[in-house]
Symmetry: C2
DNA sequence: GAGATTGTAAAATAATTATTTTAAAATGTC
DNA sequence: GACATTTTAAAATAATTATTTTACAATCTC
């Protein structure tokens, strides 16, 4: 997964994958069909094991209180990813490159976490933590954009991700 | 430029470029050396003719007043780009793929517009349009991130860019 | 443990893509 | 208008990369 994450679908050769994973070329083709199939599987794995767990608490507790603490964790989790950004988001600009199946998968994933966050925001709203005039759908987009798009913008020279900087901004926007 | 913009450096073949530009293959190699040289030239062109003009007003008027109007124009300009995102930003996550020259060029460009915006924000601050307690450097990062990173996050299904949504958020953050 | 099945390494093939060459057409120079 | 230079289209080559095959080792079944 690492190579796809770092260099993107097209710039990742099958040899790279074989080298990195130790997988056998033939086994790989038998298991996943082709490079595209492997990429789809990678997306699923990323969703289920890397990002998923971070949002699992929202699934487990549909009435979760304390969005603030949750968001802080999500931001920090994203900031730790060695500045590689979000595997899915890094491919959002490349729908034609990754193919339609992968593009759909990525978009479905984004929609999914967006609606999870929206539910959490609505809860917070009904508890008075967020003003009743707020557009929770728009705020949810904004949160997803800042969390999953932001490492992209981490500078290579400073080697520092920019996400933590944005956490405060997002929180102010929620509380305003 | 279009192909690079839409599909990224690695997924763009020389044939694609030749087809799109009508350029002759041999002339292309004579003029730019190789694909990489052409990409570097593309980045320069993008900077000088596509994005540059949008920020030119900041260079021409170091004491520009009315950041708000300026920012609005920048947001709208970005939102119009056929949802391809920012050519440079789309490559930020791929420093190893595009090579070190291109990566440096992209980062220099980002730093440049960030500091232009920071100057404008400082002016606004000294005129009282922005609170004196604000960290203009951080705000500038935030603006660049929202303007140049946001189309990335426009959904393919809805075909709508998300940038306009963020304009309000950014303005609130400035005025807060 | 013989025989069937599965996994593996390495080489072979196929497909794509970057770059160069070639020979002709276009253009410029005197 | 003849000659030199430059541009162009097309084919040729080189390099890379995706996929398949082959021959063999490991594992499993009875």
């Amino acid at each position: 997964m690492g190579v796809f994450w770092r260099n993107g679908y097209k710039a990742t050769s099958v040899s790279d994958i074989v080298r990195e994973t130790g997988l056998n070329t033939a086994s790989m083709y038998k298991e996943f069909g082709d490079k595209d199939g492997l990429f789809l599987e990678t997306l699923s794995h990323y969703r289920n094991h890397i990002i998923g767990p971070r949002y699992q608490i929202l699934i487990d507790n549909p009435n979760l209180t304390g969005v603030e603490m949750f968001l802080k964790n999500v931001f920090l989790g994203a900031a730790k990813q060695e500045y590689k950004g979000c595997l899915m988001m890094n491919h959002l600009a490349q729908k034609h490159v990754v193919g339609v199946d992968a593009a759909q998968k990525i978009e479905a994933f984004c929609a999914e976490i967006e609606s999870l966050i929206e539910i959490a925001l609505k809860n917070a709203q009904s508890e008075g933590d967020i003003g009743s005039d707020k557009d929770t759908s728009q705020l949810a987009s904004f949160v997803v954009f800042c969390v999953h798009g932001a490492v992209l913008y981490g500078r290579h020279d400073t080697k520092k991700p920019i996400i933590p900087k944005f956490y405060d901004t997002v929180m102010r926007e929620l509380r305003r």
